[in-house]
């Protein structure tokens, strides 16, 4: 069985994680652009960051037979300064031309402020202008429901957004049905303490079915582990789901969504 990890921040991980993922049959990973754990001091720092994830990480991953893809954007946690954000947005189009850049992401909201919403909307427009996929970060913890609803309202009222080309990430029990019922894709993150456990992810798959649903471990610089994706595969198999059903969630579904970019090179199984 082959596995696609749709969300991992490899800039914050060591080669041991590449090696572990490769040994657990991960064949492709995607790295959305996000906060580094500190606020960057200049727009140029984002240029360096985008260069790193679009040029250097693919070479590191290739040593472990893993295809590395990325998304670029100004992330919501650093989007409060509108002027600063627009400087970053100004050079995003040059990165959208690169062969492993899949679209705009992870755009979204953090505290759901007016400024964050302005930059979210401007990046949605940029994605539409360049015919790009969109990967959305939804807020953490108790801010998640409000922020998700704000973005859903914006996108469903927009009129020009195809929900089949948009992924809402970090879904949980209270936001997942909202996103799915509007025709968007949904990703569930397996994360210690602050997001989903493997058990809750499989509960959701059993409750809502496999359509437009993917799973990621969102490994980054904080408490997280790429292997939680594989823990979730084990949980699904332990509950008696067929290999084909498991493969759909952990390979075919992300493959189907990501292939819409025109750049994702793996084939459906």
């Amino acid at each position: 069985m082959k596995i696609i990890e749709p969300h991992v921040h490899m800039i914050a991980r060591t080669v041991q994680d590449y090696e572990r993922m490769a040994r657990m049959h991960t064949v492709a990973i995607c790295e959305p652009a996000f906060w580094a754990g500190y606020d960057r001091t200049s727009p140029q720092a984002f240029h360096d960051y985008f260069t790193h994830i679009s040029e250097f990480e693919p070479t590191r991953a290739a040593q472990y037979l893993i295809q590395h893809y990325c998304w670029v954007c100004i992330n919501p946690k650093e989007a409060e300064d509108v002027g600063f954000s627009r400087e970053v947005i100004s050079f995003i189009p040059e990165f959208l031309k690169k062969p492993t850049v899949l679209g705009l992401g992870e755009i979204g909201l953090h505290l759901s402020t007016k400024n964050e919403m302005t930059i979210f909307a401007e990046q949605v427009e940029l994605a539409l202008k360049h015919d790009q996929l969109i990967w959305i970060h939804t807020p953490h913890l108790n801010d998640k429901l409000r922020g998700t609803k704000l973005m859903l309202d914006y996108l469903t009222g927009h009129g020009g957004v195809d929900p089949d080309r948009v992924m809402f990430d970090h879904m949980e029990e209270h936001t997942l049905p909202l996103v799915l019922e509007h025709g968007f894709w949904a990703a569930m993150t397996v994360y210690p303490v602050t997001k989903n456990s493997p058990q809750r992810v499989i509960d959701a798959i059993e409750t809502y079915g496999p359509d437009r649903l993917v799973v990621d471990a969102s490994g980054d610089w904080g408490p997280s582990d790429p292997a939680t994706l594989h823990d979730t595969i084990f949980e699904m198999r332990m509950r008696g789901h067929s290999d084909k059903a498991v493969e759909r969630i952990f390979y075919n579904n992300p493959c189907q969504f990501l292939r819409q970019s025109g750049k994702f090179r793996l084939e459906m199984m």
Binding site: L141, V193, S197, Q199, R200, D203, E206, T207
Partner: protein
Amino acid sequence: MFYLHMRSALIETAATFDRIQAAEGADAVWRDRRLEKLREAAGFLQSDEPQRARRILESLSGEGPDA
């Protein structure tokens, strides 16, 4: 820090109750004495009295090896 871990434990426990209720044969399992005792024990969390852990452990004690 305590908040995040307590929040997580509460959600995980609620999800486990949901999982049991959604499972095949849930009606019989829902009446299982052990599950009833867990649901009763959850009531101690709403109390202002201290020693909640001790009272939960006491409430789950003394019903034999299968309890």
